[in-house]
């Protein structure tokens, strides 16, 4: 049967299991929107293309599915860049469709033309310009395959207007043939055996788990391996929800704002097992002083991650799930020696407990003024077990990582690699759209909130009951902290002095607004917010110059922390 390009696009999306897309219309996608109106695919209209991408990203992070977003040509397409770069840095599977001027006009500086394939080349896993409707279905098939396999990432498909209206016979290919793309899922069993041998030889082993564990849905396996061998686990920001914070082997986050005990454990361990993590500079601090006594095993699906920043003694390329299940299998086979090893670990675990006791995660509480950490703890106590937390970027993000006890995978959605302010609200929107019945909370700063605050309108329109907790310090707090510590308190352009009435702002959009100014009001505000069946802003007036600690200053080793 003959179909138009835009009909083919929607048909392919359905065949890929997509039932919800986020997008913003315009001249170059008007045909797609005409067909969308008649389609069973649910479309959500955020108020900015950046937010559409972050929303699709939030959906992808919360569900593990491929997030899909649509934008028009030119400014619509360029507005997607920050969202694409955010998803690319955090390896989030997405397919983004952009409209393009007709093929005959490409290169002519036509109205609303932008070379989006050229612009997004370095911030997508791959991208396509479709020049012929006969290749459209195949291209979409490839795009989804590339987005979700290997190290996942965003793929952009640019579809000129004439390709959207051109007709052809629709055939969706069953398989994908990409001779240049063969992700290596299955780990070499010999490497896994070597890993087990190195583990059994270690005295002070440590697992360092990252977002690759989430991507591979390997949280349970990670815990199984850690428990069987009694190996403590520290996580990155991205891997945080894969290891329940209250688990006795969990040391919380490592790196610049990591826990004292996690950073000490990294510095003292004699074997570091990196699982789906990439030794980012916020994690390692000074590279030469990172895990100086350790042999390093690096498990990752992306060979380029291995030996990029640090030396590695044993690389294992493969899907984290496959590697961990093979490792677990070998451990079960050698249960006697693994048991002896696990028992032998207790002195090391005691040393770590000593560090934990000496410097637990803490802050100085106050009777009169709200400490931001206290808000996070209260949210954690009062929210559901499976509540999904998103954050923006700044101090509030780090406090969330430090003080929220995550319990389940895919419940912490945060921009780790790019550090994008304005991510949290639209990501919460996407997660809530995917899970209408779960609690979704965006923990925000007053600065970041204003980067995508227009999404309040979307929440109200689609009855998405996202709860927004703004930790209002009237500062771009994280930058202010650096200025305080490293620039003699010269608070250049970080004071957001014009006071905003966030309660009225919420009301103006048709959402509810609540405010807490004293510590004894925190719980009341949260309780009320959770009871409201709709989007709510909770504004917490917090201590203005509170700092995120511990902190490893730039250029030193992880054990050189500034402590509370």
């Amino acid at each position: 049967m003959k179909m138009t390009g835009s009909q083919i696009l929607l048909e392919c999306l359905k065949l890929e299991g997509v039932d919800m897309v986020f997008g913003y219309p315009g001249g170059a996608v008007i045909n797609i929107y005409d067909d969308l109106a008649k389609s069973s695919i649910h479309h959500i209209l955020p108020r900015h293309e950046q937010a559409a991408i972050h929303a699709a990203d939030g959906l992808a992070r919360a569900t593990g599915k491929v997030g899909v977003a649509i934008a028009t040509s030119g400014p619509g397409a360029t507005n997607t860049i920050t969202g694409l770069a955010t998803a690319y840095m955090d390896s989030i599977p997405m397919v983004v469709i952009t409209g393009q001027v007709p093929t005959s006009l490409i290169g002519n500086d036509a109205f609303q033309e932008a070379d989006i394939v050229g612009i997004t080349r370095p911030c997508t896993k791959h991208n396509y310009l479709v020049r012929d409707v006969r290749t459209l279905a195949e291209t979409i098939k490839k795009a989804f395959y590339i987005a979700r396999t290997g190290r996942p990432g965003p793929v952009l498909i640019d579809i000129p207007k004439d390709v959207q209206v051109a007709q052809t016979d629709f055939v969706y290919p069953e398989t994908v043939e990409l001779r240049g793309y063969k992700p290596n899922f299955s780990a070499n069993p010999r490497q896994v055996d070597k890993a087990l041998k190195m583990i059994l030889d270690a005295r002070r082993p440590l697992i360092y788990a990252g977002g690759g564990v989430t991507a591979a849905n390997a949280s349970a396996l990670l815990q199984d391996v850690a428990e069987l061998a009694q190996i403590p686990v520290t996580t990155t920001l991205m891997g945080m929800a894969d290891m329940p914070r209250k688990h006795p082997l969990c040391l919380g986050m490592l790196g610049m704002h990591g826990t004292y005990y996690a950073n000490m454990a990294v510095t003292q361990c004699d074997l570091l097992i990196a699982v789906g993590a990439r030794f980012d500079d916020r994690v390692t601090g000074k590279v030469d002083a990172f895990a100086p006594h350790a042999k390093i095993i690096h498990i990752d699906i992306d060979p380029t991650s291995i030996k990029k920043n640090v030396r590695v003694d044993l690389p294992i390329v493969g899907d984290v799930r496959d590697v961990l299940s093979k490792l677990h299998g070998s451990m079960v086979q050698q249960s006697e020696s693994v048991k002896a090893f696990a028992e032998g670990n207790s002195p090391w675990l005691e040393v770590i407990e000593g560090w934990r006791a000496a410097h637990p995660m803490a802050y100085r509480s106050s009777e009169s003024i709200i400490k931001p950490q206290q808000v996070i703890q209260s949210l954690c106590e009062m929210a559901d077990e499976d509540a999904i937390i998103t954050t923006e970027v700044g101090q509030h993000q780090m406090w969330t990582a430090q003080f929220y006890d995550f319990k389940q995978p895919r419940t912490f959605l945060t921009s780790g690699g790019l550090g994008t302010m304005g991510f949290g609200l639209p990501a919460a929107l996407g997660a809530q759209a995917a899970y209408p019945d779960r609690q979704v909370i965006d923990i925000s700063g007053d600065g970041s909130f204003q980067m995508n605050s227009q999404e309040l309108a979307t929440l109200v329109q689609y009855r998405l009951p996202v709860k927004i907790a703004i930790l209002n310090n009237n500062f771009l707090g994280m930058v202010r902290q650096w200025q305080q510590l490293f620039f003699d308190k010269c608070y250049s352009q970080t004071c957001l002095s014009s006071p905003i009435d966030f309660v009225k702002l919420a009301e103006a959009y048709g959402a509810a607004g609540l405010r807490a100014e004293r510590p004894d009001e925190i719980q009341d505000v949260i309780r009320q917010a959770f009871a409201i069946d709709g989007p709510v802003i909770m504004e917490f007036k917090v201590a203005r110059e509170e700092n995120v600690l511990p902190m490893v200053p730039a250029g030193v080793g992880l054990d050189k922390m500034i402590l509370l």
Partner: protein, 158 residues
């Protein structure tokens, strides 16, 4: 250390930009780059001369392999291969130098491909070191212009 890398890639729109963007975005060197279709017209071959220590070369190879359009990457360093480059060299020529240019061209088995009253254009082909050596010999005579193709390579044997 200098490395010559041969890359087989899909003969698709924009692949050259993907490769050159990768090198510039990650701060890798490109000393020369040639590209043309292979026996199979759907595949292009790119020959890249680059430099860096082992760690950088490992990253370059891995990053190239990571590109979806890249089918195969071969680093010829340490292997047995034939390497050839072509240069066109326009040399100032007058009564006193014409014979000398011809003599040098003869030694290098180069050809004169264009002649004007004031210049000879010499075409030389060979290993990059040979091309460089000929250029050095004619340099004192006055070089007006040089165009070098950048090297191409092929593994030796069947």
């Amino acid at each position: 250390m200098t490395h010559t890398i041969s890359v087989l890639l899909e003969n698709e729109f924009g692949v050259l930009a993907r490769v050159s963007g990768l090198f510039s975005g990650r701060g890798f060197n490109i000393e020369s780059l040639t590209v043309a279709p292979t026996l199979d017209p759907s595949v292009s071959r790119m020959t890249i001369v680059t430099s860096g220590d082992d760690a950088i070369l490992e990253q370059i190879t891995k990053q190239l392999n990571k590109l979806i359009d890249v089918i195969k990457v071969i680093d010829f360093t340490g292997q047995d291969f034939v390497q050839r480059e072509m240069a066109l060299v326009k040399v100032a020529a007058d009564e006193g130098t014409r014979a000398e240019i011809l003599r040098i061209a003869d030694i290098f088995r180069a050809k004169i491909v264009d002649v004007t009253p004031r210049s000879y254009t010499v075409e030389v082909t060979g290993a990059p070191s040979k091309v460089a050596a000929m250029i050095e010999l004619v340099r004192p005579l006055g070089i007006k212009e040089i165009v070098r193709s950048g090297p191409i390579v092929m593994g030796r044997g069947a």
